[in-house]
């Protein structure tokens, strides 16, 4: 990434994903005096407080008042600051949805929302704290860029890209530690460009955030055990989506599974479904995630297993989809 440090794997085991964010934001703050930070009594939890320690005069903890905070951020942006705003994903996306919609997106304000405790990563806190539809909400707002990084390294890249790209960003990261997907931040991250994690021709698993690691693990296992060539795409940017990569996967593998820590309604699975439907290309297709239900209470990894979005669940679904009698047909024209 331009300007930034390259992070390495040594750090990745020691830092939570949010700590990566905090570090990256501190560096942006050092470099750019117009960067400000806002939070709602979650400075410690979201790690935006690290910026507060480094730049107290540019740090605004507004108390537990998310709605006003996002409107304030719009005001900061209109005056020329670049506000980074952090709270839990569920409150950023839902509590303050109107403020983000009207004050930030409608007015194309240059506000960077770094929302933590994404998906079911705050599992034990239950449904008031699970962000199961934030991607659906945020991607429906015009002007909003939506990114779901797979781990700490990708978070650093996303945060720096958010600074460098004008306009509103919603970046969703998890609580705690993510499984390490990238051992360096230097792997060619680009907003809107999916990353092929595994090449494959039999089936494609499309993932974002915590399911990227799981999909890779599933692909490796299926390669060894079943001799399957499973393509894995890390679609870190939900909007603007990498249509080309999705369509290529459809064409090349004709079998597509999407796994995400989110409801299947409106999330990455829905984005991919929309692309497939509009292209008029048939393929075997499954969406893994919350099936229009609230998640149970529990540890994140347990919930992922219950939802079938961990590697076991993905393996099972891949095998299931491979069993489908799907006619091999290179002629797409008749299917439009």
């Amino acid at each position: 990434m331009a300007g930034g440090l390259t992070y390495t794997a040594v750090e990745s085991t020691a830092l939570s994903t949010a700590e990566y964010y905090g570090k990256a934001l501190c560096e942006l703050g050092d470099e750019h005096p117009e960067v400000v930070a806002l939070t709602a009594d979650l400075g410690k939890s979201t790690k935006i407080g690290m910026f507060g320690d480094a730049h107290p005069e540019r740090y605004f903890n507004v108390g537990i008042a998310e709605q006003g905070m996002f409107s304030m951020a719009a005001g900061f942006a209109k005056a020329g600051c670049v506000p980074f705003v952090s709270t839990f994903s569920v409150f950023a996306a839902l509590r303050a949805a109107d403020q983000v919609h009207a004050d930030i997106c409608y007015q194309n304000a240059n506000v960077k929302i770094i929302a933590t405790h994404g998906g079911t990563s705050f599992g034990q806190a239950g449904s008031t704290h699970h962000a199961i539809c934030d991607i659906a909400v945020e991607r429906s707002f015009p002007n909003m860029t939506v990114i779901v990084p797979a781990d700490g390294m990708e978070t650093v890249n996303a945060v720096r890209a958010a600074y460098e790209t004008p306009g509103p960003f919603y970046i969703r990261i998890n609580r705690g530690f993510d499984r390490v997907v990238y051992d360096s931040s230097d792997y060619g991250f680009e907003v809107g460009k999916a990353i092929t994690m595994r090449e494959g021709t039999d089936i494609t698993v499309i993932a974002c955030g915590s399911t990227v690691f799981q999909a890779c693990q599933a692909a490796d296992f299926l390669g060894n055990a079943d001799g399957l060539k499973v393509r894995v795409l890390n679609v870190h940017t939900i909007k603007p989506i990498d249509k080309e990569a999705v369509l290529k996967a459809v064409m090349d593998t004709r079998r597509v599974i999407v796994a995400e820590d989110h409801t299947i309604i409106g999330g990455l699975g829905a984005v991919v479904a929309e692309i497939i439907a509009e292209a008029g290309k048939g393929c075997a297709f499954r969406r893994l995630g919350l099936q229009d239900k609230f998640a149970p209470i529990g540890l994140h990894e347990d919930i992922m297993s219950i939802l079938g979005i961990d590697s076991n669940g993905i393996i099972e679904t891949v095998r299931d989809v491979m069993k489908m009698d799907f006619e091999l047909d290179d002629n797409w024209d008749d299917e439009v």
Binding site: G43, G63, T128, I297, G298, D302
Partner: protein, 290 residues
């Protein structure tokens, strides 16, 4: 009617049992919101063991008093109460927070018996309680609605929207509490976001405010009695001055104990501290009780 010394002592015994269960649950779960759990325990005790007109055998009885824990993260204190009252199986405390458990950090009304509202998203409880209070009027019922908020929670605009509406609609059957432990997650309330002059704010919004020592069961009882009988014409706010982590010396008043892990050593320390605290509380009741 004021508490007799005997009643006060009996409530102290109950509160002590519940504080211990709260600590046990935190220990079983490995961690929990013990700070704000302990500060609110005396309020829960006086409500559940003296005032709430509820029936554990008939938890959805339509004439029951309603109770909304607006600071839903204090589920670790509320769950022991709901268990002690007989609403739920005590064994559930041992699986608190475990995967697929009925009880997690914030109690879910669909899974835990006796919970009137699933809270956890701060700010929602007071307006829910207001709806419940106004519904009693519409339905011709005479139940009371009680609500406990956190002080940090009162940063939320939604609280003040509801406060304004409670006065506007004359919700005199609503008794709200603030657990004024002066701490939130990121620090002391007055450092993170100033609330003072806090009582004046509630008064300006149309509430009758009663300020008490929230770790004094007798004072809490007097305030509730007053609210039910003498504060006619206004919704009531009982501003309970409390101590975050009350009863466990090594965490008392320390905002960093909003959420904490209780390993074996600090659990043992906590148990000893609670025992000493109980002795002091009994001595006070013996001395001041009538």
């Amino acid at each position: 009617m004021a508490l007799t010394k005997q009643e006060w002592l009996a409530l102290e015994e109950k509160a002590n049992e519940l504080r211990n269960l709260c600590l046990d649950t935190t220990h079983w779960a490995g961690s929990g919101h013990i700070g704000g759990g302990l500060s609110v325990m005396d309020m829960l005790t006086i409500l559940y063991y003296r005032h709430l007109n509820i029936d554990p055998a008939n938890p959805t009885w339509e004439d029951r008093d309603r109770f909304i824990l607006s600071k839903g993260h204090a589920g670790i204190a509320w769950a022991p109460v709901l268990v002690s009252k007989g609403f739920n199986d005590p064994e559930q405390l041992k699986t608190f927070n475990l995967t697929n458990s009925k009880m997690g950090i914030h109690l879910d009304a669909a899974k835990v018996v006796g919970v009137d509202a699933s809270t956890g998203s701060l700010g929602h409880g007071l307006p829910i309680a207001l709806g419940s209070a106004l519904a009693a009027r519409v339905l011709g019922k005479d139940y009371w609605t009680y609500c406990i908020m956190g002080d940090g929670e009162c940063d939320e605009g939604e609280i003040w929207e509801a406060a304004m509406a409670a006065a506007h609609f004359g919700a005199t059957n609503l008794i709200a509490f603030v657990d004024r432990n002066k701490c939130m997650i990121d620090g002391p309330t007055e450092e993170v976001m100033k609330l003072e002059p806090f009582a004046d704010k509630w008064r300006a919004f149309g509430f009758h405010v009663i300020e008490v020592d929230g770790q004094n069961i007798n004072e809490l009882d007097d305030a509730i009695e007053y609210a039910k009988t003498k504060a006619a014409g206004k919704p009531v706010l009982i501003l309970a001055n409390t101590i975050k982590g009350a009863g466990i010396a090594h965490i008392e008043g320390d905002y960093r104990w909003h959420y904490g892990a209780m390993d074996e050593a600090s659990y043992k320390k906590g148990k000893d501290s609670l025992a000493q605290y109980y002795q002091a509380r009994v001595a006070r009741a013996e001395k001041e009780g009538k």
